[in-house]
Symmetry: C2
Subunit: 549 residues, 2 copies
């Protein structure tokens, strides 16, 4: 079966790439004068004549000039404008994509074509006189197959869209056997779709999540770049003792299945005399791990370039099978020099408002999809984030407020308690009616060693930004820039000062007040899309027992 | 010694943060009216009065509104304009940064201040009547110390700069003991600077590399986003068998030093009856590795969203101690659906020209630094890349050309040979006089299984983009979209077809012609800066025996 399908695929593809089916550049240019042959990519760049610019002398003798890069016409460009495509009416164009549905009726066939550039399909209306109608008759145009369509934009009769494409020509590029294609019209469960992570971006939900994730990432870069921050790639593998043991993945070449994939015999691991692993023979000469945070490294660059941010993967070998945890996730960690906790809170707020606004403005269609199908009211919730002032209050005030609420919590409230999800949600959802809230100045016992001690000697200049539904989205702090305070804290916590020599150097040589925060990118994707399980917020989720694809 | 320095640091920092030394917002606004209090960050955001916008009702009762985010004034903003700061003459301003040098003369003191925002220092001229002059006298203002300077911009007498700052007030933020600060004026070797990777961004060379690296990264995102590509995060950890064994790092929790850091006894590794590692007890339930490429994963998303790119870390456990190899490096891997090799070459060319142009336009000062100190002529070389047409020729023609050259190569030239650096450099540097060259259609035996077979059945639709000095910068191919061809190739190479089930699915269901390329980001940084050793092109290099910091 696969063989037969493949043969068809091959024939179709060969056919498609053969000169017979190529659209000559001249014809294309006359077909879509508004677009211009120079701006559009057709299937083969070679099908467009070489550009007229003079090639280098050597080139003219020994090689050919590389052609200009032309964009393929995307459905989003046609339907994504304010007129939803009405300005394209009367134009001839070519689109390529995957068939979502094909409904053959007696006089007319409707093909819904999607190319991933937007949620909208291009509705293609085909009658039996169009070139390639035999492909419809032969049953080659099925859900999941890839096709090329040439046609004329016409106003649509349907309520769902303003325009549709009257097909003049159809070419099947790659078939899709309807009896085995795993994504059928019937709605599949999220669990099932995770088992076909290579195909799930072909669904509405996952293509929309992918586009919004992309927009959030780009908006992140834009925000920091526009504010003078420098992107720094913090290391992924680290042998630094700073990171502390526990919940880390080891990275090693001491164990290696052989090239045939045969399992490794433990006796081959080099050991010292007492049967312990001989780390000196490992790739890095000592134990090495996957990083849990780029912050300490980021601080070194902030103490030279002033304002930096990291955006890269981080890891936890935590055995928790929840909808909020991944073993591999992306983190954004800005670090601001000459800044205190107020600057940090202001930056976190401005950042969050910027990226949410960017998504609301640039992913309208996808956000409406989430608003209808994933989380009713999400657009209003996000608009609130952009428009409302964020509120900050101290941990001590937050505890007061929880105690006074007289509400029964699973974890009873008292000063010193690490706030749980139930408390965080009560504060953002009940007390502040859906506004994001920043809680600051936490007890030092429940926070990390590097956070700056406040004058009360009980609390540190830490802050958590809480949002409705998700809880903590951002955690940050002013860093302890005073060498003696930092050393004292390391000793209090029985941490090995020598391991932190380079981190302490930042306080020895030109120390400056600085602050930063961390944001789990997939949590942000959850927050902005309403997707419930974090495994659906990243293309290929890694969790206990699962690292396929 | 460290203790004494710390005490000073603490005092200075405490002083600085105390209200006594804060500049009230009103005064600041009057000091620098052109800038406006709302746009600038001073040391403490709290020192500026709350914004006038109405806080949420709850907020007014229970918390404070978070302040607006204000940028700190950066030296680049003053000196980076076309007038090199002359338009700031007469204005009062505050800058913060690290002292590069402090020259005390009888009547006047010159402080070169750098804040990492640009290569240029702010030359600060201080006379004994300025506030804080006692700090000069006490020797607290040394190389590496951090200070705050208030002053008035005046035209400079020096030839090196158009303006300087006449100091009205100096505050030492953090001292730097001149007897132990590792970065002294005397030029340090690159090797030594690698051993203090946490401080090397405070040198001219490494701060410039960091800024250019940042510009290349942002330009990468801009290019692809502006062309409709979607950023996809390919997985870092993978248990997929597709990646093939060899030169991979294993990721495991089967070995774990205890929380006290005591070495792990090999006997604790779970084994099967025959003494082999029991992978079923590992975190992912089977052997897992660090990825060597995101391409195959990227293809799955291109076959849904049409045009995507990855930009993330990849890994090689290759034991090579060269100036061209890293164990951890960042890769950019775009993948274009409905595209062939010509589109791929056109995209690679447009991409490279875009990012190089971006750096030339946005990092002028840094590029002039490289042109003077690192690689003479680099600006001309990069201008050539932007302006010259790229030439493409087939591998077969390239072999012809090498044979006809009658040049003696270490690796004798004949058809089927994998081109070596000597051949690549001869072609770009000698034959094409410094132009980038793309070589295409390589023998299938020397290329990867997934590359599309050409009609001659001997070559595949692969391309390598070669540049002067660096050699291969980009490698790409059209992918084999025909299921039967791909399966036959896997069998020929004795690869396990079952492992590739999901990759083959892309050819089973709606297969499309697609193509992509890969680019090692640190090679690009080398290419754009002239930095010779790749270990100096990434903040924290990972190589055999070295994963510190």
């Amino acid at each position: 079966m696969a063989g037969a399908a493949a043969a068809v695929t091959r024939r179709a593809a060969t056919l498609l790439l053969s000169s017979r089916f190529r659209t000559p550049a001249s014809r294309v240019a006359s077909l879509i004068p508004i677009v211009g042959a120079n701006n559009r990519r057709f299937l083969c760049a070679s099908s467009v004549s070489a550009r007229t610019a003079e090639p280098a002398e050597a080139a003219s003798q020994l090689g050919e000039t590389v052609k200009d890069f032309r964009k393929r016409l995307r459905i989003d460009e046609v339907k994504g404008g304010p007129d939803q495509g009405l300005d394209w009416v009367g134009k001839d164009l070519t689109v390529r994509g995957w068939v979502r549905t094909c409904r053959v009726q007696s006089s007319v066939t409707f093909i819904e074509l999607n190319d991933g550039s937007c949620l909208s399909n291009m509705q293609c209306v085909m009658t039996s006189d169009a070139e390639g109608y035999d492909q419809i008759e032969s049953g080659a145009v099925t859900t999941g197959s890839s096709i090329l369509i040439e046609g004329t934009v016409v106003p649509s009769q349907g309520a769902k869209q303003k325009i549709e494409l009257k097909v003049t020509r159809l070419v099947v590029i790659g078939r899709s056997d309807p009896t085995t294609y795993p994504i059928q019209k019937k709605r599949a469960t999220r669990e099932f779709l995770r088992s076909i992570a290579h195909l799930r971006p072909r669904t509405n939900t996952f293509s929309a999540v992918t586009r919004v994730r992309n927009a959030l990432a780009y908006a992140t870069h834009k925000f920091f770049q526009e504010n003078g921050f420098v992107w720094v790639s913090s290391p992924i593998i680290t042998a630094s003792d700073c990171e502390g043991a526990g919940e880390q993945f080891y990275v090693t070449t001491l164990i290696q299945n052989d090239t045939e994939g045969n399992n490794f015999n433990v006796s081959k691991i080099p050991t010292t005399k007492d049967g312990k692993i001989d780390w000196s023979q490992d790739f890095f000469g000592k134990p090495a791990f996957l990083t849990v945070s780029g912050q300490l490294n980021g601080e070194t660059y902030a103490c030279a370039l002033s304002d930096i941010y990291t955006f890269g993967p981080t890891f936890r070998a935590e055995n928790s099978n929840t909808s909020r945890h991944l073993a591999e996730f992306w983190m954004i960690e800005p670090e601001l020099a000459f800044a205190d906790l107020n600057d940090d809170m202001a930056c976190a707020t401005a950042y969050l408002q910027y990226v949410v606004k960017y998504v609301l403005e640039n992913c309208k269609e996808d956000m409406e999809f989430f608003n209808t199908w994933i989380e009713k009211g999400i657009i209003n919730r996000l608009n609130d984030v952009v428009e409302k002032s964020f509120v900050q209050l101290s941990y001590t005030d937050a505890i007061d407020l929880l105690v006074k609420s007289k509400k029964k919590f699973e974890f009873p409230v008292k000063w010193g308690l690490d706030l749980q999800s139930e408390h965080e949600r009560y504060i953002t959802e009940q007390v502040f009616g859906g506004s994001p809230v920043i809680i600051r100045d936490y007890p030092k016992e429940i926070k990390a060693f590097y956070m700056r001690q406040n004058d009360d000697e009980k609390t540190v200049a830490a802050m958590d930004l809480l949002v409705p539904r998700v809880g903590e989205l951002i955690g940050g702090s002013q860093r302890e820039e005073r060498l003696d305070y930092l050393e004292a804290r390391l000793e209090e916590l029985n941490l090995n000062k020598e391991s932190y020599w380079w981190y302490l150097d930042l306080r020895r040589f030109g120390s400056v007040p600085h602050a930063g925060f961390g944001l789990g990118f997939e949590r942000l994707v959850q927050f902005a899309t309403g997707i419930e399980n974090i495994r659906d917020a990243i293309p290929f989720p890694r969790t206990p027992g699962s690292a396929d694809f």
